[in-house]
């Protein structure tokens, strides 16, 4: 699936999007896999409560299942307006 990063999450991980092959059942499991990979993911996901997640461009949460999902995005709380 496509995994997207925005704002300081993007900066810490060092790229705006990547294709990830994963059998993770939930967003949390996907994050666990990423964190296990490299320090830059661990740095980005150190405090999950400071992050928001969108699944297929809809706000969601870390417990959400990933079956059939094409796009997951991670970012800090939004600051529009």
């Amino acid at each position: 699936m496509n995994v997207l990063y925005f704002a300081w999450v993007r900066e810490r991980i060092g790229l705006p999007r990547e294709e990830v092959q994963s059998e993770a059942a939930t967003v949390s499991e996907l994050v666990d896999e990423l964190v296990a990979r490299e320090a830059r993911y661990a740095a980005a996901f150190a405090d999950r409560s400071a992050l928001r997640v969108a699944i297929d461009q809809e706000l969601s949460d870390f417990d959400a299942p990933l079956a059939g999902v094409r796009e997951v995005a991670f970012f800090p709380p939004m600051t529009g307006g």
Binding site: L4, F6, A7, W8, R10, A54, Q57, E58, L59, A73, F75, P76, P77, M78, T79, G80, G81
Partner: protein, 147 residues
């Protein structure tokens, strides 16, 4: 309903005049405009606004549709910019038209409250002291509770 996401500046006067002129049987038109203020940290060189193309339009459309369901509105306009802006530039605007002023005011405030915390934009301030992402404010999240 019109939702615009663009990097180019918009013409607040022309947009407001055109919006109001298009709804002659709506007695009340409210606009809100967000302007780049100077940074609390000092002299702002640039404000960079990042967004999530695709989700941004979806989120703004969903917020505007929700407003139209909750209030009796003739129309809704949302314009939001991204990219590099400088002090004094207009970031975004919303406009609402309604028969009654209460609907127009409440819907505009609702749009702003949700747009602040639920539309995927992130602001970064660049000053002489460096660059920092603008942190979301607890009061903005709290503002959603009233709706």
């Amino acid at each position: 309903m019109r939702i615009v996401v663009q990097d180019a500046p918009f013409d607040l006067g022309a947009e407001t005049a055109q919006f109001a002129a298009g709804h002659s049987n709506m007695g009340a038109v409210v606009t809100f405009t967000g302007v780049v203020r100077d940074s609390d940290a000092g002299s702002l060189e640039v404000m960079e606004i990042e967004h999530y193309p695709g989700m941004t339009e979806r989120a703004l459309t969903a917020i505007a549709e929700e407003a139209q369901q909750r209030w009796s509105l003739g129309d809704v306009l949302v314009i939001h910019r991204y990219g590099s802006l400088t002090h004094g530039e207009m970031i975004m605007m919303v406009a609402t038209a309604a028969r009654h002023r209460k609907d127009a005011f409440e819907a505009a405030e609702f749009l702003m409250d949700f747009l602040k915390s639920r539309a995927p934009f992130w602001k970064r301030e660049v000053t002489a002291h460096g660059a920092d992402w603008v942190a979301a404010k607890a009061e903005d999240e709290d503002a959603l509770g009233r709706w």
